[in-house]
């Protein structure tokens, strides 16, 4: 579970993080089965990556919103000028609300009507087909529209070098520390 949460923390985009979680899930389960004969339930490690990533997305929205409010109302406030509520709403990343509502609805259904858990799991399983399909399309389209020669000419190499330095110098190690602090000792249930 540490490895799954680590993927969620260290890999930048949602699709890539969840795909990394899926790969980690498959590798760890295959190794545990081959070497120790332990057959862990599938998708728990990937679930850790997804959950961590979704919570990051939700809180990026919340923090960005708070920061924007503080910035406009305290730091760069002009006398007599007030922020319109509509302005905040226009700038708010609405996809975050989709995550929050879906999570809240499924949690409410799961807790209030335990008898529906089986159906909810089946529905999630059906949804997984689309998840796989859309991942495939995401990476296919990224590959198709990326013009790496043009990006290189534009000086993106320097930006990529800075990003790689930050990633391997700090981000993945901080991610590993945080996921270890929260998930150390947790393992998926055995089938």
């Amino acid at each position: 579970m540490v490895a799954g949460a680590w993927m969620g923390l260290a890999v930048k985009t949602d699709g890539a993080a969840i795909a990394s979680g899926q790969i980690t899930d498959s590798l760890i389960r295959a190794k545990a089965l081959a070497e120790a004969g332990i057959n862990y339930n599938p998708d728990w490690i990937m679930g850790a990556a997804t959950t961590v990533k979704v919570f990051i997305d939700i809180f990026i929205g919340v923090w960005a919103f708070l920061l924007a409010v503080i910035w406009c109302s305290v730091i760069e406030s002009k006398p007599g000028e007030r922020i319109r509520a509509g302005e905040i709403w226009e700038r708010f990343p609405k996809f975050v609300l989709g995550y929050v509502f879906t999570f809240a609805i499924i949690l409410y259904v799961g807790v209030s009507y335990p008898a529906l858990l089986g159906k909810a799991k089946t529905a999630t399983g059906e949804g997984n087909v689309f998840r796989g399909l859309f991942f495939l399309m995401t990476f296919l389209t990224i590959g198709m529209v990326s013009n790496f020669r043009r990006l290189w000419e534009e000086g993106i190499g320097k930006l990529a070098a800075v990003y790689l330095l930050c990633l391997f110098g700090f981000i993945i190690w901080i991610g590993l520390l945080i996921s270890w602090l929260f998930f150390a000792g947790l393992k998926p249930p055995v089938m």
């Binding site: 730091i75 534009e154 000086g155 602090l181 929260f182 998930f183 150390a184 947790l186 393992k187």
Partner: protein, 53 residues
């Protein structure tokens, strides 16, 4: 038709900007808040959801 802006040229045109004092304060407080919240969430996790610890 206006020419498409090129990232390399735009980056060359950018002037170096010093951090504003308020930005330095913001970075410092963000790190402090991050460390504090990490401690708080870790305590909540280990106290109320002590699975595997």
């Amino acid at each position: 038709m206006p020419e498409e802006p090129r990232l390399a040229e735009e980056m060359r045109k950018m002037e170096e900007e010093e951090f504003l004092p308020i930005e330095k304060k913001l970075v410092t407080w963000s790190i402090v808040l991050g460390i504090l919240l990490l401690g708080v969430f870790l305590w909540i996790s280990r106290t109320y959801f002590a699975v595997g610890h």
